[in-house]
Symmetry: C2
Subunit: 148 residues, 2 copies
């Protein structure tokens, strides 16, 4: 029963892979950036890259697979670390040149051990902007939106 269900899903997915690849616009290196977001908390965990084969694996296996630009190889997130990413949904953007992959992330998404790669990198000093007419108490950049 599981087999027949899996085959049905597999065939359906295989047929749509060609359609998916036709909609996607890979860059000069054959890659698409993929934003990885925890499906329930909505944390942005990391940004990775997929070529057509990594995207096919991601869409058909339930696990996120990337192309490593630095190592020049496929890597299935979690195979070394145990910190797997289980696929919940995959969306293409309006131009077909970016992916949003919602996942269930086991443990740390970042190789440094933090939950997200952006915690690891940390905040940059930024002037906070506000909509015109919005002047929060104590804001030091209340006028930043005035030119909008």
């Amino acid at each position: 029963m599981n087999n027949s269900t899996d085959n049905s899903i597999g065939n359906s997915t295989d047929r749509s892979i060609s359609a998916v690849l036709a909609r996607a616009t890979f860059d000069a290196n054959g890659l698409l950036p993929a934003i990885i977001q925890q499906w329930d908390s909505h944390e942005v965990l990391m940004l990775g890259y997929m070529d057509a084969e990594a995207l096919r694996r991601t869409l058909t296996t339930g696990r996120v697979t990337f192309w490593s630009r630095s190592r020049g190889e496929y890597w299935r997130k979690g195979d070394t670390s145990g910190h797997a990413q289980y696929v919940r949904s995959v969306d293409l953007d309006c131009d077909g040149d970016a992916l949003l992959v919602r996942v269930d992330q086991v443990g740390a998404a970042c190789h440094t051990g933090t939950r997200t790669c952006f915690e690891a990198g940390g905040p940059l000093p930024a002037v906070v902007g506000h909509r015109p007419g919005e002047h929060p108490a104590g804001s030091s950049a209340a006028g930043a939106g005035a030119a909008g």
Copy 2:
């Protein structure tokens, strides 16, 4: 008073721009991908690209500025559409080669008129993965995590 506060922030930010740029790893085209996320709802709105100057403007003006790869020019989100992005925070990732920008987005982030660019592009057919031992009722991909 506002002026003196703004100058203080400005000088502090200017001094740290060099440090920021030293931490960032721009790609062969001099660009960093920037994930844009609504600060309170945590929606992922879009993916854009910044060169060093676009990042400097984003960090110092309270408004998100991108480099348009298709048009070969800077664009400050909202100047044409009115759908401005007001900066709340900017984080660099662990490798220094991706940005997470949390914003207050006015209206639609996507040029197609949808709130996010991923709504506009829409979902791809994906097999859903689950942690080992997790078998939701009705799942058609209950075994997808078994190899993890």
